[in-house]
Symmetry: C2
Subunit: 324 residues, 2 copies
């Protein structure tokens, strides 16, 4: 019998602790691709084709969330495996092809809030559409992360063939020249962004306002949801018996505001009314089992809401899958 | 003063109830596109690039879920806005580019379960990769919806340059010729699919087995998770201090089995052991705050698990976003 030498033993030990599969590549290594899948998601609502479009994300400072202690807010974030101070917050828009009209709800932030946003035109093209074919743009409200995307970097209309529509209450609040003149330093950029974004559409006679309950085009009804801004609106969409409520900014932070709808955000113009509107709409969508889409819900931001105990809710996102 | 005629009044009434925005298209109507975004999702785990790949979906009959009354199962499904009898169930696989190895975990169902599956090669290409560049295929177990995708429709290797690896306990159960010969009629197709899918890789000397705890390649460790099949395994992946457990079929139906992990599925070889393994792993991933990926979780099937009361859990999916 041959007694193993130390050299044999060392080789055997090395083999025993080395990985099972040889690590020398048999052929060229594939470089890491490191790009995300395109930011669109498609589904049908009756005969309407709905495409969620990802504009990008904002890193929201958790301290902008109000009406609860930062300790409570961090506890709620941790339950969703998110921890502050910066919370990745999606900016979504929704493109609805009714079959005869191409309707975009909100236009994203363009590059005014940094390079992590402004991808709606790219994702709209990735989804098979052309911004020039958009017939109608409906705006949930006139904040910059919803309207800046109406313009190119050099101030031209991104949607040159679209008419643009916002609630009269929001237009009256943000668009008068004297409102900008009277604005304090902190809020002046909000007025400037709203006025700049709409100017070319107003000049072309392509901007008009609507009131609560207006049927904008067949199957699209405005639903006043004031508080976040005076004219903040949802759009209730219905086709062939199926419904979708595009509710704008009813929720800015899914991790905290579904569980505690009293949590508010710094940017709310009327915080108390924003909370009351959120509670009212949450109760309605639960009661009606209404599918909702939200501009700051985790992309694609489409799903249902379930009640979880008194005054508390849970977000149930749609599942990815083919168009069926 | 001119008094309006009835005709005037009828026109005014028609205008008042007609939609705000003219419905005649100003230009050519955009046709509905009706395709879904490509079925991949990308993220980093340390220095490893992880790409979730969507193979498609199965419509799972709710009656295949066991250990609870159908009434309880339908109640849990309804809480997720899903109702039976058919439950859309994703089939996912995971491609990990370590920087030096391209590793695929599971290969999907190919077309053996119908036209709604078999999209892994398409989505792998959409994600920027070439099946011929895959170096290693790790199999969580040898069921057809995980192994059929190893072969093209004409029986050739889809991954001609890859070595293929499965747990010894699964290979010993599914691959012996005598196991097929002894199988009853109902289970024979399972044995046939496993044996057919692996045959070309075995013939080329490209198939080998591993045991629990084996380090397969640096950063990939096999984790026995028996019950669903005798050798059903997870893979614990670690890079630069970040971890991901690809746990195979620990959950087949997210809507019911997180809330009640005792719910089992018809296809479990050892139902009691499958339940015990599920409970053990759920407790472990909660304790360790371990990110998991699952082959039948809603695509992309990556997320965390939170405890919700005694013996009950909640799934928290990752959020879509760019690679950061």
């Amino acid at each position: 019998m041959r007694i193993p030498t130390l050299r044999h033993w060392l080789i055997a030990a090395a083999l025993a602790t080395s990985p099972l599969i040889a690590t020398t590549p048999a052929h060229a290594e594939a470089p890491q691709v490191k790009t995300q899948a395109p930011g669109f998601y498609r589904m049908m609502v009756g005969q309407f084709e709905v495409t969620a479009l990802y504009d990008g994300y904002l890193d929201l400072d958790a301290k902008l969330l109000k009406n609860a202690s930062q300790r409570d807010i961090q506890r709620l974030l941790a339950k969703r495996f998110t921890t502050g101070p910066a919370i990745q917050t999606a900016v979504n828009a929704y493109l609805i092809n009714t079959g005869s009209k191409l309707v975009l709800i909100d236009a994203g932030a363009a590059k005014a809030f940094g390079p992590s946003l402004g991808f709606i035109p790219d994702n709209l093209r990735a989804a098979g559409y052309d911004p020039a074919k958009v017939d109608v743009v409906l705006l949930t409200h006139l904040h910059g992360d919803h309207v800046n995307g109406l313009l190119t970097a050099d101030g031209k209309a991104v949607f040159p063939n679209a008419s643009v529509h916002a609630a009269k209450a929001d237009a009256d609040f943000w668009l008068p020249a004297e409102a900008l003149a009277k604005a304090d330093e902190a809020s002046r950029p909000f007025f400037q962004m709203a006025q700049s974004a709409l100017a070319p559409y107003q000049a072309a006679g392509r901007f008009s306002t609507f009131d609560d309950g207006t049927e904008l085009i067949p199957g699209f009804k405005a639903l006043a949801a004031p508080g976040h801004t005076p004219g903040h609106s949802g759009f209730l969409i219905e086709s062939a018996g199926q419904r979708l409520l595009v509710w704008g900014d009813i929720i800015h932070n899914a991790a905290t505001q579904f569980e505690n709808p009293e949590i508010s955000i710094e940017f709310d113009i009327d915080r108390k009314l924003a909370v009351a509107t959120r509670q009212k709409l949450l109760n309605r969508v639960v009661k009606d089992k209404l599918m909702v889409a939200g501009m700051h819900l985790p992309f694609p931001g489409i799903g249902h809401v379930r009640r979880e105990g008194k005054g508390s809710f849970e977000w149930i996102p749609v599942e990815y899958g083919p168009i069926r």
